[in-house]
Symmetry: C2
Subunit: 240 residues, 2 copies
DNA sequence: TCTATATACGAACGTCGTTCGAGTCAAGGT
DNA sequence: ACCTTGACTCGAACGACGTTCGTATATAGA
């Protein structure tokens, strides 16, 4: 099957589930699309998304870059496959109207952890078309939770979009900072302590609030900032 | 002055404002950093951020790519300059405790319009270090509005971060979709009508909520979705 | 056994960000 | 009037990138 057709199938049909695949057959060591996505994820996990190159990926599979194009339309297509794979791993709870908020934040935390496990991959998520079957499965699950919580359909629909956007952006930012620490390109990297120092060094007459609340601006261990923002967003959407 | 020094100055000192610059002097047609950023913005405005290439930018300035590196450290540095430039154009209102919400959404709308005017540039914004003087000026202004609204300092600090993240992600998504329409790479582009059709075509037993609320999921003319999300976020942060 | 088809892959194309090094100018001290 | 100094210009090149072409190969069905 053509990779173009494969991609179309992911976006159109809900997996016809026909007869089992006719077994791969190749010259020496067959390459399956699963192998491609798996090694791509392993590459991202250890070296970051910006290290995911058609050439490096091909090298990890002991072949040349041209071989990948038998299994993947594009690099964009590969990105879609990877995000779809990540979505597969999310467990979407059966909506419980008494605990829908916790369930929803739990799903978002799962997404966050997947994104952070593969640093920088959320950039691909932001660039994706939202009709991939695996991703609409996630949207469906989040939508169900919001509706179970009594949120109006319009607010719920927009809330799903906003939450996913925020999670992706949050993870992308974190990954970029972490990546800079690795490369440590001189004055580009900024650890929180250095950040606090810089903000505190600003002239108080021009930046009164920033200098006064330096502590709050740089506060938050772990995912405090994430948790607070998510709670605020869900609260905000719940009351409209 | 070295471009590295220039960048450091943007992040450290609040513009010492010494004697006026000693006037440029060059062989034929001097290139100023302002010219670089201006033509870069013009390029993005007409062809999109992905068309911003050191080579194309140099070509627009009638020179070779090497010449740019006398004014700019990096492409990342160029990105910072561009975002800084955009921040300059934002007008930050004097906080009015009676209208702080409208003022805050107004600032966010300004950011949004600047991002959308230069399609794809928000990608650079997401990757930036947040100590550039122009960007902390914006944060300071937004922080002032939230504090004037009685929001607690901690919530206000995180709200600024969340709002800027969301605006950037929202604009990036829109720009990507628009860019796909231009390239119109076959089945990659998806207009809202096609999106609705695809969602409606999903099997109702697997995606009950998605198929039932297709209208809400694809609704929203103009920036309805943006406005609603911003209002929800501000509401959510205001009550904690 | 023969043919069609899907896959494998070396080689190449064009583009990208960035660096090197030789060259060119103008200002300031002497 | 000369020379040093420092900033700027820019042709050429490097290595890496995504992608395509053409050909080789191995299996599935005839």
């Amino acid at each position: 099957m053509n990779p173009r057709e494969r991609r179309a199938a992911r976006h159109q049909l809900p997996a016809p589930e026909g007869e089992p695949r006719p077994k791969p057959r190749r010259r020496k060591a067959p390459i399956t699309p699963e192998q491609v996505t798996d090694t791509a994820l392993r590459l991202i996990e250890t070296e970051g998304y910006e290290a995911l190159t058609m050439r490096r990926l091909a090298g990890a599979l002991d072949t040349g870059p041209a071989s990948l194009y038998a299994h993947v339309v594009n690099k964009a297509d590969l990105d879609e496959l990877l995000i779809g794979r990540l979505c597969t791993r999310l467990t979407l709870p059966e909506p419980d109207p008494a605990a829908w908020r916790e369930q929803l934040t739990g799903v978002c935390a799962q997404v966050r952890d997947q994104y952070l496990k593969y640093p920088g991959i959320s950039r691909a998520a932001l660039a994706m078309v939202h009709t991939d079957l695996e991703t609409v499965r996630v949207s469906e699950g989040m939508l169900a939770l919001l509706l179970a919580g009594g949120v109006s359909p319009q607010a719920a629909a927009w809330a799903v979009d906003a939450l996913l956007l925020y999670v992706a952006a949050y993870c992308l930012e974190i990954s970029i900072v972490k990546q800079r620490e690795v490369h440590n390109e001189a004055d580009w990297a900024v650890d929180p302590e250095e950040l606090r120092r810089r903000l505190a060094a600003l002239p108080a007459e021009d930046f009164p609030h920033t200098t006064r609340h330096t502590a709050e601006l740089t506060a938050g261990k772990g995912h405090d900032r994430f948790d607070c923002t998510l709670a605020a967003m869900i609260d905000g959407f719940a009351r409209r």
